[in-house]
Symmetry: C2
Subunit: 311 residues, 2 copies
């Protein structure tokens, strides 16, 4: 099944466009989580693995999409990466669409190696078998088409997808992404190329397997980019902790409430740290995840076309 | 010891500026290499591990710097990553300077997590310990300063370095990197920012711990960028298989033959595939690595200021 069709079927089924970002910073893990395991590297990795499963247990049935931030698993070497692999498998058992957020980038056969590793199958003793088996990967466009088309090729073959950075949500995104060449900013040049990579790969939903990362913190650009790439699924970071509101992300959606997923990481998985929740969910961080998730779902429904997903 | 001082001490000691790129594409491994191990994932990973050690055995004492391409290890999941970890450790035992070529990029605390993971120390049970322990990492600048300064901070603290993509060696590099804004191409904007990140972090050699990746396939730009970033170490890909000659890379060096390392991956480690070597080194791929390395060292000495390193 085509990636975008799977992605938006999952969104439709859950009735919301939330992507739960799992960024397990060890220093933010709920109190006692690290103490359940040995005080060495294997123990921390086990804590990441168990925390991942426990987050997935809370969000399954509520949302359709999760995103894992690779950096926090790579932190603990192969042991940490094994925790990520376990979490991806567990998310698949729960029928969640899984985005590997690794912002990989390289050229030619090296880019193809990344694509095969994270989305496709890798050669093992004359056979091909999946390795990480994510549904989609985030990629960085600085190297141009040579760095993107190998991902598109593998994704098209395997029913997977990719999200290319276009406009990121951080303050210094402007330094390069807003430089104006030939009358338009760099991020529009990337968007225009991306529209070209995307258009041959549309599914029945009308959306392509080639997506874009467009930050919610620059709301006017979000609307502009939505218009420039009408058939490109958006992965929208920046909601919540990074300061964007539901009305800021509203332009990402089409009139049916499809076309985008809105990521929230810390604001959900570490919701127990929020002032409003700290007392109420003192010994129940999962309760805080649930409450924050319900709040976000209601916020998107009240302020975006996502309201139409529930009907 | 400051990264650039270590890097160029290694170059001086070896008498050449070659960086041996270890990109173990399984389909290119010497005949019989995969058959030495079991036909499953553990076997392929073991082949990567052993191949890495055998390459390092050949090049130790001949060169000062090696670069590992992460993609080919990530291909095989945590098992493949364990092979990479072993190779990095083994390279350190051999006193080689190790570059982790992963082109990582993210912002804020996520970028810092990558930096700690690959260059610094990570928290484990109240202590901090190294995880991957590379000497330098390649990074992608698309996200601006927020994505670079966390790497610079960790590198400065740990005596490590980074190489930021500026001008890559691939054909489509031009699509975005050559867009002209405010009278100069994007790659010059990146270079000018990079010069600013680099200048507070110079070692005794005069070079900074903040380096740049500048492809050899665009020789005029290489000269321009050398002038724009006089205190920035260059990691130069594109020599050999990608078509650049020693005269193309010559502008990367200062008059003492320092300032840059020139990477060669396939052209060295898979030299046994070259028409000229195929017959001669039929059952001795290590011999082909040695021969190709000697050829490259001689070529750089004959056509660049690296000749001065040997004296």
């Amino acid at each position: 099944m085509h990636f975008a069709d799977r992605l938006f079927a999952a969104v439709r089924k859950s009735g919301n466009a939330v992507c739960v970002g799992i960024d397990p910073r060890p220093e933010d893990l709920p109190e006692g989580m690290l103490d359940r395991f040995s005080g060495d590297r294997a123990g921390v990795s086990e804590a990441l693995r168990v925390f991942g499963r426990e987050v997935l247990d809370v969000v399954t049935g509520r949302v359709g999409v999760v995103k894992f931030q690779a950096a926090f698993y790579e932190t603990y070497g192969p042991e940490g990466m094994a925790a990520l692999q376990d979490s991806i498998r567990y998310a698949h058992e729960k029928d969640l669409v899984v985005i590997f957020d690794g912002k990989r980038n390289d050229i030619g056969s090296t880019a193809e190696a990344y694509a095969r590793a994270y989305l496709g199958k890798v050669p093992v003793g004359g056979r091909f078998e999946p390795s990480w088996d994510a549904d989609a990967i985030t990629v960085n466009p600085y190297l141009g088409s040579d760095g993107i088309t190998p991902f598109v090729k593998v994704a098209a073959r395997e029913g997977k997808g990719l999200f290319t950075l276009v406009r990121t949500s951080n303050a210094s995104a402007r330094e390069f992404q807003d430089l104006v060449a030939d009358g338009k900013p760099l991020y529009r040049h990337v968007a225009d190329r991306l529209a070209g990579w995307a258009s041959p790969h549309r599914g029945e939903s009308g959306y392509s397997l080639v997506g874009a990362v467009v930050g919610a913190t620059y709301s006017a650009e979000l609307a502009e980019l939505r218009a420039a790439m009408p058939d490109v699924p958006f992965l929208v970071p920046g909601y919540g902790t990074q300061g964007a509101s539901a009305s800021d992300v509203a332009p990402a959606f089409d009139e049916s409430g499809l076309g985008a997923v809105v990521n929230n990481s810390r604001g959900l998985i570490f919701a127990y740290q929020k002032a409003a929740y700290r007392e109420k969910f003192k010994d129940n961080w999962q309760g805080a995840v649930e409450a924050a998730l319900s709040e976000m779902i209601a916020d998107l429904a009240a302020n975006t076309s996502c309201a139409r997903l529930a009907s």
